[in-house]
Assembly symmetry: D2
Homo-oligomer: 346 residues x 4
């Protein structure tokens, strides 16, 4: 009954098999391995972007910080949600990698609205040289509260960015989960919707530690390579990153694992709803925030269930009675564990 | 016949087996996995350092840059060899991670001498607030030219640092190869010789991508953790780093693979010497620089041998006739390949 | 009728006279001039702080950014008002000088409240290594909206900081105006109220370009000197900074000019109130925000009055009728200009 | 008898008079004062560069570091002399402002030679993404040893830079002294010789604290403005910087003061030579390095003469007998002081 995070589960066997298969003989280091050629081709095909520049790093924070640094001058500010991972969970890595840029938190919840974004942008760069200058817009998809921007929502945001000539970054640590939820194509959810660069997550969805950074136009490619090396994120034995990503993309494994995670999470949500729990955010992908009685939490805890208690209570709930949980379904979670979890609600 | 680098070979099966074995169920992320406890204990035991703070990262550049940053203020300068990896091959990563410190290149060859180091240190911090302030001394063991500092040489260098109150970093990307060459203990080659922090390499000696940073006194531990996270080098699925290092340390595999690499390199050197080649640097570990006729290079090239042509000729050699090669023996190289290589000298 | 800012007025003759007097013969450079000894002594006396470390720089942004950098690690966050100068008007200088720290904007108006500060502090450093760590609290006195914290208010804020072990910086670009408004001593408004370091402004109150940074305990002194030099803020012909500050402190000129500015501003405010204007913020020092009819603005504009139109309208005001002005009284403003300004309200 | 530095002398009366004259009424802040228009025009005229972007800062280090930062990416390296001010005397300011770039010290003396520069450039950027990338060439004119590059020498260096597509910065802290020594035009010594940006010094030659940064093509102008503000080097009461520079340029004062300094230095050198002293570097501008007996040093010291003892002895000199002095003539030095100094040699 492990629902603490999708960064704590195992690697999918297909990914591991590619890693094992890669482990023979010599391979040119630093991204010049032949498996990387396969990866590059697969991603370009999947994204319908034959000119895309594709790079691999091992952590989501590296993907975000390096991608943003390519589009953000040190005197600029990045527009993002107040609960964005880049703001709350990266220990100032975006500030570090951009050379000390600022983050402007667009007021509201986990999802930015076009109006709020527009007002935030309007609020910066009005003091000439004195204030920070406007930099990229960073959108998280799936959001930190388990929400998924519809294509219309996404396009409304990127339109605001485009109106001001600002580049758009998509933090896709859970890219596949969002894609499966929307049922659209990778191109739809990125460049066709106005995204310039995406952090395409693998780690949370069946890999060991690999994320792709995909630039839809190649003009930042060389700068990224230098920034990656300077950031100490270029792997010598790069083939093991390539192999993970190759296994992840092969036969659309990434969509299969994401679908599993989302479906299981929907099943969990349904069970919780049936058991009387309510939700702080509408369940859409593989992460939900459910409120239920403290007594049930106690039973779950005693039975060894793992998840994070979440601050905040639903309007109308009595906090002495009710408590919220963040529940994340890893791709590897099975129905038995969910059923066992739900059994404690009866 | 692959002698280009020890960063291009495969992962040892014992390391891979631990990675595969780690791949079950859930494990707490971000270094809180139980395998990391094993790793920490093994390294403390191996180094006879029960209080050592031990951390894992995936690249040697990250290990070096993060370790140095803990001991170097932005207005200081790091003393190192002019051919140090941190100077020549890390695309300004040490400068980046230290917040813009300088590197002072101690004049001489790949090995620093105590006199040259003393003069370099004397040359800095003589202009009060105007010049850079003295920072850490960074020593590379095995050096970039395949040399190994004896314990006496090491201690003479660290004594100079200690005289000036400067901390000492050891870049041990090839730590095991040096240790095996010296036949001393890890403690002898580090804290007993005045080293404060070591980058303990795994990648080049049988791992996939893992290096330990070992602090012999723990006062920088928390700072390192924050710097690692901020640098985007903290792995969520950290168990796969831990597993590599655990497999590497288990039953002294790391010494076995290093011994293999060194022995094979000695065998190669002996064969080359017998064939009339001469050496730009005395062979000591698993990397040698041999000068031999251009015609032989041509035959080797035609036969598919891989290695780097090296700039510089031995005194007395005619550069139109003779050319140098850098030859590195990976832990995995076999005698057959060496014999095949040597066969082209006849 | 110049009310645009107190950074656009002339230098007081007493300050200029000291600059002229300093202009003879040679003086040791880089802060070793004898006038600096006088300045150091005067500030220590004025602040009743015999051990204070005192330094001069030429801009308020340099004073703030350098002072904060001495108390803020790159992975920390600075707590400040959402309208703080360090956030809105320094083009990311604090981020630059701290090595990429973050600013946490304490919700509310220009004045931070202890409760809001406490909640902001509570909101950070709850995610271990993942989020930013808590750094210094920066308080602006006079605030950016012309407000003055009472000693009780100041102490309530610094008590919150002290509860969390956080250092306190005071941005005193208008230090003298606040002091005169409160009628307390410099010690009262700083170290006796829990302030660790103050940016003590001179430029806006009669100087040419000089600010002192005063550390009430000297442990950051040498670090500040190195940071100042590294930031290119150490003057070779330092005596001209010293001379300004010496003239400013001599015979309490700084209090005289501040009193003039505040008194004239009070006179202006009284006249505006009498003429029916209302205030967005209670007038307390030398900067006020008054709302009055657009037609009056037009008359003032036509007559050549200089001031900034301010966004935001008072509740109840009709924005098509009423418009706000930011009006700042420089130390040098005279009653005639104020009377001329007020005449347009009739 | 003050020969310690040209950063310790007084301000020329013409400069001071302009500062005093500027001290009336209000002036728009932050570089929007009308005197800055005059300065901009004067510099464009003096340099025959109608499109030049012209900015003022208060210190030479700021001028150098900000100018270089506009032309140097963080992963690049700046080519300069091993005794360049940017390397030895700016406490890592260029590293700080460039975001952690490196400095490559071109082997040789204070003057770079084209061959040495070419070899240094050839030595970098040969390792792809691994090493630092080639950045700007920075030339110091007058050099740190009092030398002056001829136009031919200058052009030979910039030709090497141009061959590699590298921008050229001129550190002209003593620009006027070099110009007077060469007898050429400002355009000759800068853009006509391949210089892209110059730090045009005022402080050492009669000003209080002002340096111009002159870009010969304006594409970096806005970036410079942002970097200057972010670096806390934009003055609010900017008119006092403008006034200094206006006074400095007026009626070619800058050439007059430089000529005085150089002529007096030549007179001093001649006297020293006549008294039997020898020179470590050929006297060319206003700074010389003379070797003479320790006994004479003692007499001078007892008489209160101020100058720096210089390390290094001339070949053939007995260090127990002879000692070197660095002697700098400020614009304000008078013949009487020189004669008094020389009197001690008899």
């Amino acid at each position: 009954m492990f629902f603490a995070s999708d960064n704590a589960g195992p690697v999918h066997v297909q990914v591991m098999d590619r890693v094992i298969a890669a482990n023979a003989d010599y391979a040119m280091p630093y991204g010049n391995d032949p498996i990387m050629d396969e990866v590059r081709q697969s991603i370009r095909t999947a994204f319908e972007a034959p000119d895309a520049a594709v790079y691999l790093v091992a952590t989501g924070t590296a993907a975000n910080a390096l991608a943003l640094a390519c589009y953000c001058q040190p005197w600029q500010t990045i527009f993002c949600s107040p609960v964005a991972h880049i703001h709350e969970d990266e220990c100032n890595a975006p500030e570090f990698y951009t050379g000390a840029a600022k983050l402007t938190l667009v007021p509201g919840g986990d999802k930015m609205t076009p109006d709020a974004l527009r007002r935030s942008i309007a609020g910066e760069e009005v003091r000439g040289v004195h204030g920070p200058q406007r930099g990229p817009v960073s959108i998280t998809q799936v959001t930190e509260r388990g929400g998924v921007y519809s294509l219309d929502e996404l396009r409304a945001l990127t339109a605001v960015a485009r109106d001001h000539g600002l580049p758009v970054h998509l933090d896709g640590a859970r890219f596949a989960n969002a894609l499966v939820a929307l049922g659209c194509s990778p191109a739809d959810m990125t460049w066709k919707s106005g995204v310039d660069v995406v952090s395409f997550g693998g780690t949370k969805n069946g890999c060991m530690g690999v994320e792709a950074v995909v630039f839809f136009s190649p003009e930042k490619a060389w700068e990224f390579e230098l920034r990656r090396k300077r950031g100490a994120h270029l792997f010598s034995k790069h083939r093991y990153l390539s192999a993970q990503m190759a296994g992840y993309l092969q036969d659309d494994l990434w969509l299969t694992t994401a679908r599993q995670a989302n479906d299981n999470c929907a099943y969990l949500a349904q069970g919780l709803r049936a058991a009387g729990a309510s939700f702080l955010h509408t369940p859409q992908a593989n992460m939900i925030f459910a409120s239920f009685p403290r007594a049930t939490h106690q039973r779950l805890h005693d039975a060894g269930a793992k998840y994070y208690i979440w601050e905040g209570t639903l309007e109308g709930d009595d906090p002495s009675e009710m408590l919220a949980a963040r529940l994340v379904c890893d791709w590897s979670v099975d129905r038995a564990a969910i059923d066992a979890f739900l059994a404690h609600f009866q």
